[in-house]
Point group: C2
Chain length 431, copies 2
């Protein structure tokens, strides 16, 4: 047994966010202004984010208290379940024990709500009446729409046009939550209008949608911007996942040998991993693995250097693993993992060898997701399927070495709005 005492409420929800880097004495690299190459201060970003979130972004406090009202909003779906996947273990034929933390029980179906609620709350506290954001396939936009509704804020979502038309269901969810959803490029911004005029059939891109959301923010008084991953404060909010998992495993007398999360921008990975990484820093033997798509191998094949966070090069430079901000990853079904960069904090840990990364081809992830679905009933999001692929691989390796390991992975969301992708997989169209 280990001395693990995360602060939990009576119902088992952590009452503080956990800030790993200051706790283990690892300095982060500050974002730089591309014009001056100097660190960007909070004042420069104050047009986009409320001060409380900027303070979290740069905080050196180890534990950041979660306000009561926000805890109550979390209590609608948290603590999320931690389960042992016994039938999945049996289907794999492994001697290892595989546990998963299931974030798909959130009303919007993924971990994204953890930070969406926090961001909406701190914006409401700052008197913000309206938030603009971008979304690709719609996971983040859905979460923010519901969070804004919860805290009485108008939500304006720029959704990549091709997804807006091809994947209308998440748009329907956003609209049910009362958000305004615009196909991007839109007629709402001058950038969108000029782009539409020049290219009437422009399919849109995340880069274009970010540009529109930022223009919307700076041209509308009382409006702020929100981002669903990458930034320090977003990772911070997600650490409630790992803190809960740690406490839940502790009640079973279990501490994992391996912790796995899928990796796109880094928020769900950090959420499950950071509370465990503390123990690794303190000398505990534990392997922490980020699982990414082979077609977007940011951590396994990218460079660790300063780069822009967006494709339009509007954001400050961040020190991170990157494939290059101009790279457009293949249109795989795990849209949430199609990001050229990585969270700076995750990148820092990888560069220091505190975590490892593995990459998986799409077909491998769907195959293991099918096995998991048949065994446990839950249809995994294609993103989460990457974490399952890594967990299964680690179990196989342990079996081959005659060992039994205890593996924990984060099932970041369900795939009930991705059944079209599974249909393609069953029809043999995904290899």
């Amino acid at each position: 047994m280990y001395c693990i005492t995360p602060k939990l409420t009576a119902t088992g929800i952590p009452t503080t966010y956990y800030n790993l880097l200051p706790d283990i004495g690892v300095p982060g690299s500050p974002p730089l202004d591309p014009a001056t190459q100097q660190p960007v201060g909070p004042d420069k970003l104050a047009a986009l984010f409320p001060m409380a979130l900027l303070e979290q972004e740069m905080s050196s406090a180890v534990h950041i208290p979660i306000p009561e009202e926000l805890l109550e909003a979390y209590a609608d779906y948290r603590p999320t379940p931690l389960r042992r996947a016994r039938r999945f273990e049996k289907a794999l034929g492994t001697r290892s024990a595989i546990y998963y933390k299931y974030e798909g029980v959130s009303p919007v179906g993924s971990h994204k709500l953890n930070t969406a609620l926090a961001q909406a709350y701190y914006n409401r506290e700052a008197g913000v009446k309206r938030i603009a954001t971008e979304t690709g396939a719609g996971q983040w936009g859905t979460a923010l729409s519901y969070a804004c509704r919860t805290f009485g804020i108008a939500c304006n979502v720029y959704m990549v046009k091709v997804s807006y038309h091809q994947k209308p269901f998440r748009r329907t969810m956003m609209e049910l939550y009362g958000a305004s959803v615009h196909a991007s490029p839109s007629q709402e911004t001058s950038y969108g209008r000029s782009l539409s005029a020049a290219h009437p059939d422009h399919p849109g891109s995340l880069g274009v949608a970010i540009s529109e959301a930022i223009e919307d923010t700076v041209t509308h008084p009382g409006t702020k911007y929100a981002l669903g991953s990458v930034l320090n404060h977003v990772l911070l909010h997600q650490t409630i996942i790992g803190q809960e998992a740690l406490a839940q495993l502790d009640t079973l007398g279990v501490f994992p040998d391996v912790v796995v999360g899928c990796h796109g921008g880094g928020s769900n990975f950090a959420g499950i991993a950071f509370p465990f990484a503390k123990h690794k820093a303190n000398g505990k033997e534990i392997e922490i693995i980020a699982a990414e798509p082979a077609s977007c191998p940011t951590l396994t094949k990218g460079e660790f250097r300063y780069d822009h966070g967006d494709t339009a090069n509007l954001t400050p430079l961040m020190k991170m693993y990157t494939l290059g901000s101009g790279v457009v990853p293949d249109p795989i079904h795990a849209g949430g993992l199609r990001y050229h960069g990585a969270a700076p904090q995750v990148s820092e840990l990888l560069a220091r060898g505190m975590i490892a990364a593995r990459a998986y081809p799409q077909g491998v992830t769907f195959e293991v997701a099918r096995t998991f679905a048949g065994a446990e009933g839950i249809i995994p999001a294609p993103e989460s399927a990457h974490a399952i692929a890594a967990a299964a691989e680690v179990a196989r390796e342990a079996d081959a070495a005659g060992k039994a390991r205890t593996i924990l992975f984060n099932l970041s969301g369900h795939g009930l709005l991705d059944l079209g992708a599974y249909q393609d997989f069953l029809a043999g169209k995904i290899k």
Copy 2:
């Protein structure tokens, strides 16, 4: 406070099914053989169902123990949450308290899994290797497919052809769970083949699919048949919902004034209502309401008489509220409520005035579902939206009378695979 001590495991799952009618001394009316008009004995049905389920069908025991292995399967998703819908109350502007029991957290997304797991378990115990069933839009087929996978039984699903092609996502789920899914009328049975030959474009119907599943069962050794609602043993399995809710409310010191469930065949309604109906029979003041579609008003406008359970008139005669077995209800989105009849046990209670029924037009149910989704985050299944409509109406009536009531409804499933219907609603196509 009331003396309510349902038997619960340490983790809060009931350890017995609750058999209301024998407990309150209400005799049921037996099913009749249409040829002889005499009660059908278990031997006649033994070709279709394993003996353990037939014993439950006719049991006079009040508490029927749930076997350990089945409890473990339930523990994957039970106890399901019981929550107070505070933001929904606020959105309605009501003084009443509204609680809901949420069955959508089951991996297949609805309460159907409660009986599917039980039926698969008892079939496995009886040595059954293969189960045939029918499904309309796919809720039941999905639940049974997963349950069969869990207990190592092959599952053969006849899915109404028009749904098979128009609603492919539940088919994809069934196939991920390893089931064989056939568009009905199919080439698998002589009835299906003859129908297809005569009408190559036959769209199928639930009646046809039942006929195919029954033919499949009696022509394949080691195969049994399974039904997702109406029958006594199905209702019995669902009583774990109400038992849990009773215990969960009790921990809050709450006993409801009103209990609501939506009503199609009757299983989710009985599941939430029967454990509370016992208290009504014992003199407690409690109103129990079944909410049904105005377009399929079985309980509010049907007759209480013996009728066939299927449209092809293959089943025994059951004494129930019915619109007539030849009636084809409008193709509303709440496909699970499109049934001409009602569970005999529910019908018996309605005829004795122990429960009430109310009917709602489709547009009203989608409107209230939108309000609920915006307030609580969960997108309700169109079926469950009928229960929400009744809960909201009761709250409004109480407000008008200057009273505050405590209302409990069963949110039997989520609507994440029904977002196309919500899209139509938002586009003004559903009134």
